[in-house]
């Protein structure tokens, strides 16, 4: 059964039309860009800046209870 499914996919990829090949190439490039380049290098999360669940909880509770809104440009002026 497993071999049958595997062969189905291998056969499918082997017989791709030129349009299909182009689309798969585009999918691979896109996934690499999204998951490797952009995610790893440009999307640091708060987890990378605040250590531990307790510290994170404290950060958000402090933020939720002490927030005021100002424009950075106004502060700078």
């Amino acid at each position: 059964m497993f071999n049958k499914i595997l062969l189905f996919y291998i056969d499918g990829f082997k017989n791709l039309s030129s349009l299909g090949k182009k689309l798969w190439l585009l999918i691979i490039i896109k996934l690499v860009v999204i998951f490797v380049v952009i995610k790893v290098f440009f999307f640091p999360t708060v987890d990378t800046k605040v250590n531990g669940e307790k510290a994170k909880q404290a950060l958000y509770i402090n933020y939720l209870t002490k927030t005021t809104t100002t424009k950075k440009s106004q502060k700078e002026e």
Partner: protein
């Protein structure tokens, strides 16, 4: 801690750009998957090769869109973590459940059945292939259901399915089935998928009409136009009917949104819908002194009582305007901004008091703060509203800027969406009537109209989302968390850099999609495989 509104504006711009781009692909996938299944069903029923050829042609166009749109939605998940981490902290446990299910359903159903649909033409039986096509369509539409359940929660969070844990400052899911069955999400889902079917139908009818105008692939085009017009007529009427239900839900759960959608500044009994109009800009002080809506529009073509009928299902029902919602209206039991703000500030004070008491180990003070935080302050149609559900109002300071959405963009995006919806119905009536009479091949006028209409469903669906999402402002989660307080409490310069990276990537992908679609359409059904 200060919120940098530049960070907020960049984060909002990035999310809006990602959502609009992602949504260029989604409805086409939802609609075309069913369209392909219809064509294949006809092929299996008749056994005629031309229907197989038609199925494969439309399947290729579906496949291009499916491949290029694939995983553009994942970028949203990154943005939740990076730009909207407060939002993710507060609602992640609840919001994450439908998103996770969507991921699993989308991955397993779509990946499995897409493989059979594209690779299996010569490798599986007709019946298995047809079943796979239908399951692929069902899988992609089920994905939309989970996303819209998550979105429905943001539009109208209800104590029927969540509780606010004061200890963690997070919302917790209490009733999974109530989350799934929330009426706001259900009507939104049906509205979105029927709009997607309309989009696919317009595309099929438009491309078929293009062939007829050019005198190419005539038999194929006649068959496809008939399927597109028939499916489109049913779908476009369904969009309008379900849209009416959707408007009813919005009117009863998000009064600021419906007031902005209709430019209703002063509440009225037997409120009209302004079918065509230009809203006048009014300051809140000016709105406060208005006694009626005579000066709300520069140009207006009102349809008397229609808003009361559609929004409240009653000829003379009162529909609150911006004035009633900001300043309150005792006659109709509408709380003012100041009242809501006072409750919100008290909820925030409770949250703070709880954690201060926790820090000093004062159990009694913690319990008192928790009880006050969860005290029932109102009963809306049998649903108990706890003070915690109004916490977001405690952050708002200026009702003119923060309490209701900007009226002009919401009004115009909503009205243009509705106008386009009616245009699609008219187009399908014209095309279907002509096809039934057997005159469509020579009906150049309707053929041209169908070709020019091809891009309009994308415009309509974008306007639909703009009216829904701008109309929800100033909230990410209505009443609980304002957008301005959902952003990450850290300076993240990357939001600007990634905005332009995504913009570049989206432009490249958009061009690639259009180029491939044009190439396949130019080649016609014979060149599809």
């Amino acid at each position: 801690m200060h919120i940098d509104l530049h960070m907020l504006e960049w984060a909002r711009a990035q999310f809006a750009m990602t959502a609009i781009f992602h949504f260029f692909f989604v409805p086409f996938t939802l609609g075309m998957s069913f369209m392909v299944a219809f064509f294949e069903t006809i092929y299996v029923k008749t056994g005629k090769a031309e229907w197989k050829s038609a199925t494969q042609f439309w399947q290729v166009l579906f496949g291009i869109n499916f491949a290029i749109g694939l995983s553009t939605g994942i970028i949203h998940e990154f943005e939740f973590g990076t730009n909207w981490s407060t939002y993710s902290w507060v609602v992640g446990d609840l919001f994450g459940a439908p998103l996770a299910i969507e991921g699993v359903v989308a991955f397993f159903m779509e990946a499995t059945f897409a493989a059979i649909a594209f690779f299996g033409w010569k490798r599986v039986s007709k019946g298995v292939h047809l079943t796979s096509s239908w399951l692929l369509a069902a899988g992609s539409n089920l994905s939309a259901l989970w996303i819209l359940i998550a979105n429905g929660f943001m539009q109208h969070p209800s104590s029927a399915f969540y509780t606010f844990d004061i200890d963690t400052a997070r919302l917790e899911l209490t009733n999974f089935f109530n989350l799934i069955l929330q009426p706001v999400a259900q009507v939104k889902f049906l509205h979105v998928v029927t709009a997607a079917y309309t989009m696919a139908s317009v595309f099929v009818l438009g491309v078929s009409s293009l062939y007829l105008l050019k005198g190419k692939h005539i038999e194929f085009a006649k068959k496809s136009a008939a399927v597109g017009a028939a499916f489109g007529l049913v779908a476009s009427i369904a969009v309008a009917v379900i849209g009416d239900d959707h408007a009813y839900e919005v009117a009863n759960t998000q009064p600021t949104k419906i007031a902005a959608m209709e430019g209703l500044l002063v509440g009225e009994k037997g409120a009209p819908i302004v079918a065509i109009g230009i809203p006048n800009h009014k300051t809140l002080d000016e709105i406060k002194n208005m006694q009626n809506n005579d000066d709300s529009f520069s140009l207006a073509l009102p349809i008397p009582h229609l808003l009361s009928i559609l929004g409240k299902h009653s000829f003379d029902a009162f529909v609150p305007g911006i004035k009633d919602l900001v300043y309150g209206n005792k006659e109709y039991g509408i709380w003012s901004f100041d009242h809501l703000k006072a409750e919100g500030q008290r909820a925030l004070a409770d949250l703070k008091a709880y954690h201060e008491a926790k820090a000093r180990g004062d159990e009694a003070a913690m319990q008192a703060a928790n009880a006050d935080f969860h005290a029932v302050v109102a009963d809306v149609n049998g649903v108990k509203v706890q003070r915690a559900a109004l916490m977001g109002y405690g952050y708002l300071t200026d009702p003119a800027k923060q309490f209701f959405p900007p009226i002009t963009p919401v009004f115009f995006s909503f009205h243009l969406m509705v106008a386009l919806g009616f245009w699609f119905i008219l187009l399908f009536i014209l095309a279907y009537a002509s096809i039934m009479k057997g005159t469509y091949v020579d009906n150049k006028l309707v053929q041209k109209l169908a070709v020019y209409t091809i891009p309009l469903p994308w415009v309509a669906t974008s306007f639909g989302w703009m009216s829904a999402e701008i109309g929800r402002q100033p909230w990410t989660v209505f009443g609980i968390l304002p957008t301005a307080h959902s952003v990450t409490p850290l300076d993240l310069v990357n939001v600007k850099a990634t905005f332009f990276m995504f913009l570049t990537a989206f432009i490249v992908l958009g061009i690639a999609e259009l180029k491939m679609l044009f190439t396949v359409v130019k080649s016609g059904p014979k060149g599809a495989h």
